[in-house]
């Protein structure tokens, strides 16, 4: 193993230049985890290619050396999708960060995978924008968004990454290159593009991506309303949706997350509020005005303690910055936490939140809630102190129960963060053996040798061509490169 890695490392240095191949253990430690610190694995070598050609050559070199690799954008992901394989190769895309083409007439942008999400909107502003806007958009990269099919606050109205990618250049795990789709929609053939977006780096790596951008709405109106409880706020959400209003975004924060976010941005939010509801409407000036007044009345009617309407872009920006800081600011109120990403049908919101409260008390832990109320995507943050004996285990158990509750309510184990490492264990709650075997077929078609990001998504590693049956240890496991859940 060591000999192969050494040879591969030399080869990678030839491809990307010695300056861009990282081998010192301290430097490698900085790449050991993505946004989930609890999954930290030391890679064997990190390579930072500077062009699409170098990416393809690096992947081919790994293929020839028969060593696994993991692609990484900004390492801001929340499912451990960019966690390295122990002693394996990490391919960082952070140097491929050029915006190659901007075509507003056709509403298209061509980017390299290391371009940050916000940079796309900045490049097409002020007339256009790129709608999928994860909270980490200032740092997360388009390549990572493609891997996870990222959503964001505005996806209830506007959709997800997969609805905005029309084509990409792809490097397959054997190092060969091909193009799926293009700037045009509806290319003939299987929708491999649709299968690739959201495949979490297990089918290959994209080196150029065609994105759709759209005109910014004529008007936008934003408010944040404070309620005594999440149940109250939830009622308003139901009212809004029943009235046929499709807001640009509806977000909810509970008391704990309000306090964390307030600590980060000092927006002046009441620290005793049970819930904060952010509602943003966008569209034509006339529609916006009418609908907005309706929403304000609904909030007041439901007993809001206060309603703050953003009077200008600065105030609007502060509302969003506060909301988007909520996760990252959790460090202020809890030493450790598990961040989750479960989805439930929106109509079950009140019931599930109540159940989460119950479970939290039973486990004697606090759970903060931030969520995309419009599409039922919850982000429970299970807070704990790893220094207290047994608390980490209790927190993990609670996290699992919350996920199961959501799946039982007809939901999903992940709405936008992806399965990665973190949620592999819950896959069997949603998918049976046949379902998983169908997934495996897709993976094998792209990656017969299972080298691209092994150990992610699928709960148990499988050989290609394997018949479903009793569990047998996979060679990757034997080599200590993959683990069983």
């Amino acid at each position: 193993m060591d000999g192969r890695l050494n040879d591969l490392t030399s080869r990678l240095a030839e491809i990307a230049g010695t300056a861009h191949v990282i081998t010192h253990e301290h430097q490698l430690a900085t790449y050991a985890s993505d946004g989930l610190l609890q999954y930290a694995v030391q890679p064997g070598v990190v390579v930072l290619p500077g062009s699409a050609g170098e990416v393809a050559a690096a992947v081919r070199a790994c293929h020839e050396a028969e060593l696994p690799w993991v692609a990484r954008g900004a390492g801001s992901g929340l499912s451990g999708g960019a966690t390295p394989v122990e002693g394996g190769v990490l391919i960082g895309l952070s140097r491929l960060r050029r915006i190659l083409e901007v075509d507003l007439d056709n509403g298209r942008v061509l980017v390299e995978p290391g371009v940050t999400n916000i940079a796309v909107s900045q490049a097409v502003g002020p007339t256009h924008f790129y709608p999928p806007d994860p909270s980490s958009q200032i740092v997360c990269t388009i390549g990572g968004n493609v891997a996870e099919n990222s959503g964001g606050a505005h996806c209830f109205k506007y959709g997800f990454t997969t609805n905005y990618v029309t084509g990409l250049d792809l490097v397959l795990p054997d190092g060969s290159e091909l193009t799926l789709g293009g700037p045009e929609v509806d290319h003939p053939g299987y929708d491999l593009l649709g299968a690739f977006v959201g495949s979490e780096g297990t089918l290959g790596v994209a080196t150029r991506i065609w994105l759709r951008v759209v005109p910014k709405p004529e008007a936008v109106r934003t408010l944040v309303a404070f309620f005594g409880s999440t149940v109250q706020a939830g009622e308003v959400v139901s009212e809004i949706v029943s009235a046929g209003i499709v807001p640009g975004a509806i977000e909810m924060m509970d008391n704990l997350s309000i306090r964390a976010a307030e600590g980060a941005t000092g927006a002046g939010y009441p620290l005793d509020a049970g819930a904060a509801l952010v509602v943003e409407l966008d569209g034509s000036e006339a529609e916006c005005e009418t609908r907005f007044d309706q929403v304000v009345s609904m909030c007041e009617g439901a007993g809001a303690d206060s309603v703050r309407v953003a009077r200008d872009e600065t105030e609007r920006e502060l509302i969003w910055r506060t909301r988007k800081a909520a996760f990252a600011a959790m460090g202020r109120i809890a030493p450790n936490y598990y961040v989750q990403d479960s989805v439930i049908p929106r109509t079950r919101l009140a019931e599930v939140l109540a159940r989460i409260d119950e479970l939290a008390s039973e486990h004697d832990l606090r759970v903060a809630n931030v969520f995309h109320a419009g599409d039922g995507n919850l982000h429970p943050l299970v807070c704990y102190d790893g220094a207290n004996p047994g608390e980490a285990e209790r927190a993990e158990e609670l996290a699992g129960l919350i996920v199961k509750t959501c799946v039982d309510a007809g939901g999903s184990i992940t709405g936008e963060h992806g399965v990665g490492v973190d949620k592999k264990r819950y896959m069997p709650d949603m998918f049976n053996e046949s379902d998983l075997s169908a997934f495996q077929r897709l993976r094998c078609a792209f990656d017969p040798e299972q080298r691209a990001n092994p150990g992610k998504v699928m709960p148990t590693p499988r050989l290609c061509g394997e018949v479903p049956g009793p569990y047998r240890e996979h060679p990757l496991e034997q080599a200590g490169l993959a683990e069983r859940f």
């Binding site: 430097q27 050991a32 946004g35 989930l36 952070s94 600590g263 996760f327 990252a328 600011a329």
Partner: protein, 420 residues
């Protein structure tokens, strides 16, 4: 290879505050330049943790490459105290890591020169002569820049303050105009007093015009910001103590250099483990105000006359990020009739001066300096307002290098022009 010693190692509790979200990456100048995790705040925190086991050469290199601009502190949602971690890490490196001899000598030279106004004044005639002989232009040539980056940088940055001006000394006392509102001390600084004496004079006159009696004692010679930010712990402590001794008698200590203000507000932390000094230092820090901070807190008294200029405001890192002072200087400048204030793109990105950074890491400093210069020039402004001497030198050098030299004025100089 050893790890940290027991004297103030970067604290694990502070390191654990980092949740690895990455929000600091886009705002970090070195990550913007190179796109490598080790040269990002998030990555440097990981390295600082590793330092408990061993201080390796790569660890030192990546920590050295940090500009100490604190943009990450502004950006961090979790409130990680990167400034404190960096201070401790740098001091540990200086004590426990053996630098190559040439590098050690270079750093020593910089410290010995920079913190001593007397020596800076003594170098002034030499600099004037070099300029007269055109050596600064030679230093700017690409071949010289690439072969002798440190020397070329030194020459390019050397201020062209008129010789006479750099030999002058500021009066130590300024009477308040009208009904006195209070007495303040003004830190003269080291580089500031010799090469930017105009700024000190403008500051004092504005304060006086606003009704404050100003004392600008010759001592302390230096507040210790440069050694503090570079990890030269013994010098930093000694200069902190002498500054406290000289100025703690005043109710308010005014400072007009961003780096100095940030260092003095940090004294409580610098001397936290010395029982005789800890409280005294903190009490002192509580009295320190940047001049724009101070003036924004009081009712303006002196009439402002028009200054019809288009000015680009440059946020000095140690004022904007380290002290959080952004709105006050802008307010003061907007109070000047007919002054048009414009904002450059990428305000949060350091200009590359960063204390002694541009002297010890000239290549990235130059890349950042050029980027800042372009952003400032793109505003179409005729001059730049910057509240730090290091920034002023860097911006001047790099706008000059682009062929469109922009004059750099301290906000107090503009205010002084406006107040008759």
């Amino acid at each position: 290879m050893s790890g940290y010693d027991d004297i103030r190692a970067p604290q694990l509790e502070l390191i654990d505050d980092c949740v690895h979200c990455g929000f600091c990456l886009p705002t970090c100048p070195t990550y913007t330049l190179w796109g490598e995790e080790m040269d990002s705040p998030r990555g440097r925190i990981v390295l600082m943790k590793e330092g408990h086991e061993a201080i390796s050469p790569p660890l030192v290199e990546h920590i050295d490459r940090c500009l100490g601009c604190m943009a990450c502190v502004t950006a961090c949602p979790s409130g990680v105290q990167y400034d404190k971690l960096l201070e401790d890490a740098r001091a540990q490196i200086e004590r426990n890591f053996e630098r190559p001899p040439a590098e050690r000598a270079h750093r020593r030279l910089v410290f010995e020169l920079m913190t001593r106004p007397g020596r800076l004044r003594a170098s002034a005639p030499g600099l004037a002569a070099a300029r007269a002989l055109g050596l600064d232009r030679i230093a700017r040539r690409p071949r010289v820049r690439s072969r002798l980056p440190k020397l070329a940088t030194l020459m390019a940055l050397a201020p062209d303050t008129p010789l006479r001006r750099s030999l002058e000394r500021l009066p130590e006392h300024f009477e308040a105009r009208g009904e006195p509102r209070g007495t303040v001390a003004l830190l003269q600084g080291c580089v500031q007093r010799v090469f930017f004496g105009d700024v000190n004079e403008a500051t004092a006159r504005v304060l006086a015009a606003e009704g404050f009696e100003v004392h600008a004692p010759r001592r302390p010679r230096c507040c210790g910001a440069l050694p503090l930010h570079a990890g030269a712990d013994p010098e930093a402590r000694a200069l902190a103590k002498s500054t406290i001794e000289e100025l703690e008698g005043y109710e308010t200590v005014i400072v007009n250099a961003a780096g100095c203000g940030s260092a003095m507000k940090d004294y409580g932390h610098v001397l936290r483990d010395e029982p005789d000094w800890a409280e005294r230092a903190q009490a002192f820090s509580d009295k320190v105000r940047d001049v724009t901070e101070f003036l924004a807190e009081v009712e303006p008294r002196a009439t402002r006359s028009p200054v019809a200029m288009k000015i680009a405001y440059h946020d000095a890192c140690h004022l904007a990020h380290a002290q959080g002072v952004r709105t006050q200087p802008r307010e003061l400048l907007r109070g000047i009739p007919e002054l048009e204030l414009v904002e450059p793109a990428e305000w949060e990105l350091c200009c590359g001066s960063a204390g002694i950074y541009n002297l010890v890491k000239p290549e990235p400093a130059a890349e950042l300096g050029e980027r800042k210069a372009r952003n400032l020039l793109d505003t179409g402004a005729e001059a730049v307002a910057a509240a730090n001497p290091g920034c002023a030198l860097q911006i001047t050098a790099h706008t000059e290098r682009l062929g469109r030299r922009l004059p750099v004025l301290h906000p107090m100089e503009l205010l002084a022009r406006s107040i008759v």
